[in-house]
Amino acid sequence: MTEPLIVLDKLKKVYTRGHFSRVPTFTLEADLTIDEPAIVGVVGPNGAGKTTLFEMMTGSNEPTGGKVIVAGTDIHRVKYRERDRLAIHYHQSYQVRRFRKVVPSFMLASSPSKKPMVHLFDEPQFNPQDGYIGFMLDFFRKLRAEGRLVFVCLHPTASYHLEILSEIAERFLLVSNGGVTPHATFKSLIGDERAKTYLGPEMIRVAGTLA
């Protein structure tokens, strides 16, 4: 595999309000490259842009600027129904979102890959009572072992969430205030000031024992 699994090339999304005088209400920017299969933990407060980031990475949300290159292919230039063969977004909501079709499908390229290379898990429900957590974590590892890139987005509210994060993820992304900051280790993640304010002192204390 020569191509990096994912490249976010000066990716930018600007949400605006108003039809005539456009006032930007929210901006998200990301610029990073991940070459190797990995399990990436994504954290950040609600409304920081995690879902928007994921949607852009799977091609269901058109970026304002920049590109998303999955395994060497610009996902926004691939036929709508074949985008899930590159990157796939597992989200909680039961609502089905349709692609906003700007360009007709026949003008777009086919996906070079049959199976998705990038899997994004958007706040999977880790419920300690039913015991599925172990199977879910094994599944992430299995995907990674098959050479795929796994993003797991978490919103830690209990200490075992941090446990999961530190156990499963090899690298981290902190999404905050419209920016995306990579962290190589769990320690550096929880050392980030923004992560500290987001998680709060109690969770940071627990995290400290895990790091």
Binding site: Y94, R97, R98, Q125, P128, G131, G134, F135, F139
Partner: protein, 247 residues
């Protein structure tokens, strides 16, 4: 050779994965459990298996024959019976009539317009036999909609059993049942085990662990784990949850 063999069964709906290239095999007379959280695609897998949903792609072999995409009645006639998570009974019929209509002999006479169905004591006794098997013998004359919840669940199973199926598919049979109801159901299921092939969808882990020969864990439309209950229980997180060791 496996009685049921799913190969790359794939169902999508908009941008939502319902089933992603699911492979699964169920042996003859095996009791195979399917578990997973809500929205994992368990019921969709059943729907594909029983003809209610067509897979986007993939194959589904029943005894060596590809049945993917066949209409429900064809698959039912091949000996696949199912219960529904949201109970689907003939509400205005009595328990006996619900079972009677499900009998294959009755189905074979479905276009008979001349004789009265009620006049046939053979159907009646057959139906009552099945009702007795699930413990509803004394409720044969009560209309399905008037039965208490637990009995309705039992009747769902009776209707499926009346079809004399090779494969019995139960979709969350314990849902809505109290502890007693679950125990009664477990007893019934264990009685059936080994007599026919069973596929049981269940959210309740402990129920499946005590019933199934093998279990597939379905999540995000994919088989995330599979094995015997013993193997699955080895998972450290499962152990922890069973011991209640969570802060």
């Amino acid at each position: 050779m496996a009685l049921i063999e799913a190969k790359g069964v794939h169902v999508r709906f908009g941008d939502r994965v319902v089933l992603e290239e699911v492979d699964m095999s169920v042996l003859e007379k095996e009791c195979h459990g399917i578990m997973g959280p809500n929205g994992a695609g368990k019921t969709t897998f059943f729907n594909v298996l029983t003809g209610r949903a067509k897979p986007t792609r993939g194959e589904l072999f029943l005894d060596g024959e590809n049945v993917a995409g066949l209409p429900p009645h064809r698959i039912a006639r091949k000996g696949v019976a199912r219960s529904f998570q949201i109970m689907t009974l003939f509400d205005e019929y009595t328990a006996r009539d619900n079972v009677m209509v499900a009998l294959p002999q009755f189905r074979d006479r479905g276009f008979d317009m001349r004789r009265a169905a009620a006049g046939d004591s053979h159907f009646k006794s057959e139906a009552e036999k099945v009702l007795a098997d699930v413990g509803l013998a004394d409720k044969a004359d009560i209309r399905a909609k008037e039965l208490p919840y637990g009995d309705r669940r039992a009747l769902e199973i009776a209707v499926a059993l009346a079809q004399k199926p090779r494969v019995l598919c139960l979709d969350e049979p314990t849902s809505g049942l109290g502890t007693d109801g679950v125990q009664r159901l477990l007893g019934l299921a264990q009685k059936l085990k080994g007599k026919l092939t069973m596929i049981v969808i269940e959210h309740d882990m402990s129920f499946l662990f005590s019933l199934a020969d093998r279990i597939s864990v379905l999540h995000w439309g994919q088989v995330v784990a599979r094995g015997t209950p013993l193997q699955l229980q080895e998972n450290p997180w499962v152990k922890r949850s069973n011991l209640g060791k969570f802060s």
